[in-house]
Symmetry: C2
Subunit: 229 residues, 2 copies
DNA sequence: TTGTCGGCCGATCGCCGACAA
DNA sequence: TTGTCGGCGATCGGCCGACAA
């Protein structure tokens, strides 16, 4: 999975420790977030420490195949008794400030409105997104139109018709958008992330809304997913 | 699952031994039909007998939730050494002839044509099926029309518009048929079974064609299913 | 600047009788 | 008797500008 798109989908509230960082592992918190209920025997729970000092030895950025939701697998090794609690390796350099980190690419997130998700297959593109993320439009044409090709977290390419029209003028995605909404099963309230990669390539990611629960309407099969950041 | 619909879906080529019947179990044949490849160690295979005399102690009629394909779970217990190889209980009564069996209900199976499966959402009902399985039509009306309600193996009810029209006149299912084909993912070559239950209630079952393999066209998810009798 | 609405046009769905096998 | 076809009317998807928040 493209690391930059992963970070944009996860959002700025989410930080992932680098390999070598010293962290604390909270078994209680981990158990509470597990999808299956973890029921530790009372005796074991009594002996369980509230947190464990660990070192990050591996990080893998991943995404759910069906829902596109992003998550990370972080491998931890407990610090040995007496081992100093300090970052090592790459993590030691940027102590707090992440200015040494690679350049952050331009990205834009928008929460889908009713019109974006339900109505006649169109998506209102905020001006900022159209001007900084999408390829430059030729405004001399009447109306200005182009095709935008965007890859999702799995590397699958989607095509959208990007047009600048209406009075007053505004940017819209028309042809291709409806298909994307249906295939990804997007609803109003979900968010979409556009990102301009290094070589100008456009990427598209999702951030699904937290819902009360997956209220299956029709008899269609669908994977319920409870996620949150 | 309704036992009569189950039998109609399985077809007349399929017989299921009753509880108490003495049967032979063929491990080799069972292994060859298993969905996962069964690879017995050579040593074990050498010692395995070609067949085992057993008694049927339980039979369960079942159907796949997604594909509606029917199958049976038959519980076998090996005969003890010296135990006579003969049917006991219910199975002993009808030695060969099944005339003691309960009355067989009227049923009809038809293989779907291209027109049934692909074209404008209609199904050509053979006259015999319309006259013996469906509720009696009021031919005084112009045109004669009624709604037919049919339950599938899971007990789900489907509604079809049954009309007698055209020149020459013929029986057709129109409204509701297209939806059924799509939901059940039926294709030309698959068969449909209509059955008239005891109280006149109509039941509908499926018999899917053996295909070369499930050639997934679109990006849609679908459960591949290899079945045969 | 952009969310929602009604209009409208074209594509598709699905019901129909005509024919022929 | 019934499988396939072309016709055609109703419905729906989806692109559009108008307007207002």
């Amino acid at each position: 999975v493209n690391a930059q798109l992963w970070l944009a989908c996860a959002g700025s509230m989410c930080t992932v420790p680098p390999v070598g960082a010293a962290v604390y592992y909270f078994p209680q918190g981990h158990a509470e977030q597990a999808s299956a209920a973890v029921d530790l025997p009372a005796a074991a729970a009594m002996r369980l420490p509230p947190f464990v000092a660990c070192r990050v030895v591996a990080v893998r950025f991943m995404a759910e195949p069906l829902t596109d939701e992003v998550f990370a697998k972080i491998r931890l090794v407990p610090l040995r008794p007496g081992e100093p609690v300090a970052d090592v390796g790459d993590a030691a350099a940027g102590g707090g400030g992440d200015d040494k980190q690679q350049h952050k690419p331009a990205s834009f997130a928008k929460t889908l409105t009713q019109s974006d998700a339900n109505n006649g297959g169109g998506f209102s593109v905020p001006r900022f997104c159209a001007e900084t993320i999408f390829p430059e439009l030729d405004y001399r044409a009447e109306p200005p139109v182009q095709s935008v090709y965007a890859r999702d977290v799995h590397g699958v390419e989607w095509t959208f018709r990007h047009i600048y029209r209406g009075t007053p003028r505004r940017h819209l995605l028309t042809t291709g958008w409806s298909n994307f909404v249906n295939k990804k099963k997007l609803l109003a309230g979900d968010s979409i992330v556009f990102l301009r990669g290094e070589n100008g390539r456009v990427h598209v990611g999702l951030r699904r809304a937290k819902r009360a629960f997956c209220v299956g309407g029709g008899g269609d099969e669908g994977a319920a997913s409870l996620s949150g950041w």
